[in-house]
């Protein structure tokens, strides 16, 4: 009897993982709305909704890509620098000329893809721990950006700036694009061979390899896609600022993205989670930011609350998954060295 029920029970727990995150998002919206209402405001006024959605797009792009690498039990600490570099590549390639927009987008995707490929090669071929490999790549890019670009550079034509500012009703175009990328990523993970392989590689690298998966290629693919998502985030930065800006990396976007992914229920140990949860994680962070903003909470208190929320959320997930995760080695990265 119980044995017959177990597959159904299993699928309902995996389902409820994502459902739980969306319930948390709803809870945050309700509590946030109530908190704002007691202060005499309205969280769901158009201006606040616009603010909320605008906040989701940038972190969203980065977090979607980050989900892929974290699923493979890797990490990418260079996305903030890739985004900054991409904004510069975009703005300097466009240089105010509308006709060069497609060229600029192509250049950004190429450059960011190559950086992602380099990250992937460091991790798989050279056997460098992903934390160090991507931190190193980030430092290399930081040095290049600081040396080459002392200030804003390039000029983004007004048409492309629309990507940063236009909105349909209260939903910005950039958020629509982000959701489209998220949908594509969900499809990719659920319906393509490489997508399935990513779960396998993150679950157990050795088992995946013994099952005939070319684990190196899967990891490199995840890193390339992650960096390309960061490239798109860079395009958005360029559209918002109107120029390319090297300073963008000071915002520590990579930590925001990792926080959103983990909030979304993807295990840092890899092999479990998904982009749908990540989108909810991004949304939770955006709602919190908007609520803090509307309630005029001190910006420094935001950091405190945000840190506490992230730890609390992960502690709750850990409690639910205690029996499953407790048996896995924490960061058994030895196997990756080969």
């Amino acid at each position: 009897m119980t044995r017959r029920l177990s597959p159904a029970a299993l699928s309902s727990t995996t389902l409820s993982s994502t459902v739980l995150i969306y319930l948390a998002l709803a809870g945050v919206l309700v509590i946030g709305g109530a908190a704002v209402a007691t202060g005499g405001g309205n969280l769901f006024a158009t201006a606040n909704l616009v603010d909320m959605f605008t906040r989701t797009s940038l972190t969203g792009f980065l977090a979607i890509g980050m989900t892929l690498v974290i699923l493979c039990r890797s990490l990418d600490l260079s996305v903030g620098y890739v985004a900054a570099l991409s904004s510069l590549v975009a703005a300097t390639t466009m240089d105010g000329d509308v006709g060069r927009i497609p060229l600029a987008i192509g250049a950004v995707l190429l450059v960011s893809g190559l950086i992602g490929g380099a990250n992937g090669v460091f991790v798989t071929v050279l056997g460098v721990n992903p934390f160090i490999a991507t931190l190193g790549t980030g430092l290399i890019l930081k040095g290049y950006l600081d040396t080459e670009y002392k200030g804003p550079a390039g000029d983004v034509p007004a048409v492309f700036q629309q990507f940063g500012y236009t909105r349909i009703a209260f939903i910005p175009i950039s958020t629509v694009v982000m959701l489209a990328v998220a949908a594509a990523a969900i499809w990719f993970l659920r319906s393509t061979r490489t997508g399935h392989h990513m779960y396998a590689v993150g679950g157990d690298l050795d088992v995946a390899r013994m099952s005939g998966i070319r684990t190196g290629r899967v990891l490199i693919a995840a890193h390339v896609l992650c960096a390309m998502c960061a490239g798109v985030a860079g395009l958005l930065l360029a559209a918002r600022f109107g120029t390319g800006s090297a300073e963008a990396y000071t915002n520590l976007y990579e930590l925001d993205a990792i926080a959103a992914v983990v909030l979304g229920g993807t295990l840092l140990l890899g092999g479990k989670g998904g982009v749908a949860g990540t989108v909810a994680g991004v949304a939770i962070l955006a709602v919190l930011d908007t609520v803090f903003n509307v309630m005029q909470i001190d910006p420094f208190a935001k950091d405190v609350l945000r840190g506490a929320v992230i730890i609390a959320a992960v502690a709750i997930y850990a409690r639910r998954q205690l029996d499953r995760t407790a048996r896995r080695p924490r960061f058994a990265l030895e196997g990756r060295a080969s």
């Binding site: 460098v128 160090i132 790549t137 840092l268 420094f300 730890i311 080695p329």
Partner: protein, 331 residues
């Protein structure tokens, strides 16, 4: 002959690599500027390097037990700001404030450790959250910019030393503290505690089944890291004074130093002396950049390239012995 080969083997394993790297960097400095090795300038270098070396020892305990501590940079910054605010230039408050700082460092480490072990939150997230909390809380408390000032007595360990030593000139307190704590760390790793720590990082389940209190030693490692950040905060505050940027990005430099020392992220491999040598190598590298008059902005690039290369080299070394049990590694 065999002894020579054993020596070569020791030097080319990941732990030995860092000493070769350190020697190469020092040789580079020597070529550019032989005066660097005169007593006073060498002492000045070691005085400046001491905080990073101490932080590396603290971070080593956490990393070798299988965790990360990303909060040390924020903690160093917090400690300096707390010291300045509480001392506010009054000499008499130095010792009480030092006690408060020690308690604070201990508390932060304990919270990190308990959240990681009891609540099963990955240390990456725990300490990332702690970083955000400390960063925000300190600025909230001080209203954005650090206030107050440090007392002379507080600044002594970071700035001064025993004067009039022959050849060396000044023997900095920071160097003595670094040597004492470094020796303590080496001894600690040879005790029961150290061996359990190493075992927990290598295979926590096996360690737990053997009766080791994995969670206790891991929590203790975080506490040691918090205490090392406190000492580093005292030294950095004394050496460089108070600013809002103290400690920013330090966590990544420290982790880089430890990894450069051949310590494997994920735990169970590496020695504390190599981790501290890694910190010295990083500081020497920065000195070399100075000597080469490299544009300051280009430093991160060289630093990034060197870490990737060094870790890739160490990884290449590590895969060879691991491949020997042929039964478990089908190609």
């Amino acid at each position: 002959m065999t002894r020579l080969r054993a020596l070569a083997g020791r030097l080319t394993n990941p732990t030995g690599t860092v000493f070769i790297l350190l020697a190469l960097i020092l040789a580079g400095i020597f070529v550019k500027n032989a005066d660097f090795f005169a007593g006073p300038s060498l002492m000045a270098f070691l005085k400046q390097a001491a905080p990073l070396v101490i932080l590396a020892a603290g971070q080593y305990f956490v990393i070798v037990s299988g965790n990360f501590d990303l909060s040390v940079g924020a903690l160093v910054g917090a400690q300096v700001v707390i010291a300045a605010r509480l001392i506010d230039g009054e000499e008499s408050r130095t010792l009480p404030v030092l006690a408060v700082m020690l308690f604070f460092g201990l508390a932060v480490g304990l919270v990190n450790g308990l959240i990681t072990t009891a609540l099963k939150v990955q240390s990456f997230i725990t300490t990332l959250g702690m970083l955000l909390v400390l960063y925000g809380a300190i600025r909230l408390w001080t209203g954005g910019a650090p206030t107050g000032s440090l007392s002379e007595a507080f600044r002594t360990p970071g700035r001064l030393g025993i004067e009039g030593v022959p050849i060396l000139g000044q023997l900095p307190w920071a160097l003595l503290i670094m040597l004492a704590l470094g020796a303590g760390a080496i001894v600690l790793m040879r005790t029961r505690f150290g061996r359990i720590l190493m075992a927990s990082g290598d295979n926590d389940r096996a360690a737990a089944l053997s009766g080791a209190r994995v969670d206790t030693v891991r929590t203790a490692a975080f506490v040691l890291s918090g205490l090392s950040a406190t000492v580093a905060g005292v030294l950095i505050g004394g050496f460089a004074g108070v600013s809002a940027q103290v400690g920013e990005g330090l966590e990544f430099t420290v982790i880089t130093a430890v990894v450069l020392g051949g310590v494997v992220l994920g735990g169970g491999r590496g020695t504390v002396i190599a981790a501290m040598a890694g910190a010295l190598a990083i500081e020497a590298l920065f000195t070399l950049f100075n000597q080469l008059a490299l544009p300051a902005t280009l430093r991160p690039t060289v630093q990034g390239a060197i870490i990737i290369a060094a870790v890739a080299y160490a990884a290449r070394q590590r895969t060879r012995p691991a491949a020997t049990p042929a039964t478990v590694t089908p190609s």
